[in-house]
Amino acid sequence: MLNLETAAAPHRLRRVAIEPVSRVEGHGKVTILLDQENRVHQVRLHIVEFRGFEIFIEGRPYWEVPVAVQRLCGICPVSHLLAATKAMDGIAGFGPLTPTAEKLRRLLHYGQIVQSHALHFFYLASPDLLLGFEDDVARRNIVGVAAAFPELAKQGVLTRKFGQEVIRHIAGKRIHGTGIIPGGVNKALSVEDRDTMRAGVDQIVDWASEAVGLAARLHDTSPDFYTSFGEARANMMALVDARGAPDFYHGGLRARDADGGPIFDHVDTASYQGLLQEDVKPWTYMKFPHIRALGADKGWYRVGPLARMQVGDFLPTPLAEAERQKFLAVGGGKPLHGALMTHWARMVEMLHAAELARELLDDPDIVGTDLMADKGPRRPEAIGVIEAPRGTLFHHYRVGENDLVTYCNLIVSTTNNNQAMNESIRAVASQFLSGREVTEGLLNHIEVAIRAYDPCLSCATHALGEMPLEVSLVDADGALVSTLRKG
């Protein structure tokens, strides 16, 4: 860890703020404290909006929760719909899903990963990667990319559209649908809709392969820069299936350390609270989770594409696994921790999700009509965990006998990455900003590191009532006059 979280004498330093951080979901800001020689003394990513879903979901009926909580987000609401419904499957007492129901849920999820990853890579990240970190800010956006690389932009838009259409066919709407309900799904997939998706998926697999190639070529233009930019050596965590392959929908928790060594494996997600601990800090609404056994300083970890590609043993689809091997070869047997490497990993995942979707569209079960599981005894508490596009997502609920939620805890992907994001921007600030005159282009380097994590800041703000708040009164010379502290 770089010791840049809290400066020793902040009142004597000059403050530079990036507010808001752009081309990310939600609202955040970065503050940097510099001395007279522009040396960096403190860097923080703050989440400045507040959501509080964990509180206002209390007192609501459990069957309403999956649809309500997906309003956390407009980019990957399906993640919250699925994680919450997985928990409510247990709360309502449903047994194992029918094959059709599980496959429809998986297809929905794979469609979401395609659309979310395409959105991030083409719309949010590619302006930096293709046009340059310090390109004219007026051009550094998706419109600028479309002007310079029209065919690529078209592929990005249409790939995302395919993922959105998969979501619409299953959930009823491209954003905030309702197709997934406790016990199964509420509608069978028609043969006509299946055929429409099947007709388009080969093209998406091809375009996803090209996108992986593009990410690899971008790396090859400056390998050392790509592998070291925003490097934060972190533990890594993801869901894996029984074979050890990353599984977007279901599995056990596996964590590896920064060198790839095992920390834990195939841990039941129901025991996550024994495994992980969340801390709060007074300067952000986002919590800081870490592996409890390792402590806060050594236990922080990374989730999402970069972690999944290195925590899992293999990808069970051929094209994606071949690309994953090329990606891993860059590290020469050692894990990769550079922030920009996430883009390459993300595109491998997009290809993997497209291949998985194609497999399901060829599976006769996908148009089956047995949609609901058998119901058994109710349970008062349940935990639903999935791998959202940005990483591991936890939904934990307790429900009273009257069917109303009494407790809700969410650990969203971006929260899991909180410390890792902060470490990456501190690395970038140290390497590129320190001692130099600050320019817009240099500040964009900070944002590039944040964007690599594809953070969803609106999803990640839940520390209601737990944040220790501190207000300091400082006179014109920077001397502390008084301090009020709560919590």
């Binding site: 007192g59 009926p61 069957w63 009823g172 309702t178 197709g179 509608k187 069917d403």
Partner: protein
Amino acid sequence: MDNEFTIDEQPVPFKPGQTILEAAKAAGIYIPHLCFQADFKRHGGCKMCTVLVNGRTQTACTHKAAVGQEVDVNTPELDAMRRSLVQMLFVEGNHFCPGCEKSGACQLQALGYEYEMMSPHFVELYPSRGVDASHPDVLIDFNRCILCELCVRASRDVDGKEVFAVAGRGLDAHLIINSPTGKLVDSAFAVTDRAAEVCPVGAILKKGVGFATAIGDRPYDRESISAEAESCEIPEVR
């Protein structure tokens, strides 16, 4: 024809004793309403069915049709008033359609679409109301009650139980439950009651149903609320 009046200058037959709303329904003409149900006592509470009868405002669900009446239903002024009524109903309660399982089947939401409500317009009151989840089969979310009194009339006039009533006045008006504890579980209410079926919004809900109906299959996904009149029978007098 003797028993005839006009709606928006079109002749409409009626049977003696019929209200304007009943005659309009029979003729396949839509007049909006929230608190009307054909087999319940007329209420005239929601005012959505307000029309002009010979130039004067009347509620079509309570005003008897009469020979030679000239009734205006669809005018820009009346539509604007109906939109305002819907907006006021929205801001008086806590109606969050995105998370409500009645979405797509809710008459209040459907009227919002029908009258092109693009915003609440009025200041949201955000009242502090609760949920009664005490009954094993039915949940009452008071946040969404629009005080149409359909459940009151269903329980009293059809079920013969008098489970529901409205207490208080003005902004303090609220639905109450006739039981020693005030909770539904301690009342005579049963899930098979007519009162369990009549709520036009998401206030009285059968438990565990949630979002079982897919988007696209919900009543107002298929057709707008004003299309309901098209299936009405033509009255005998015609």
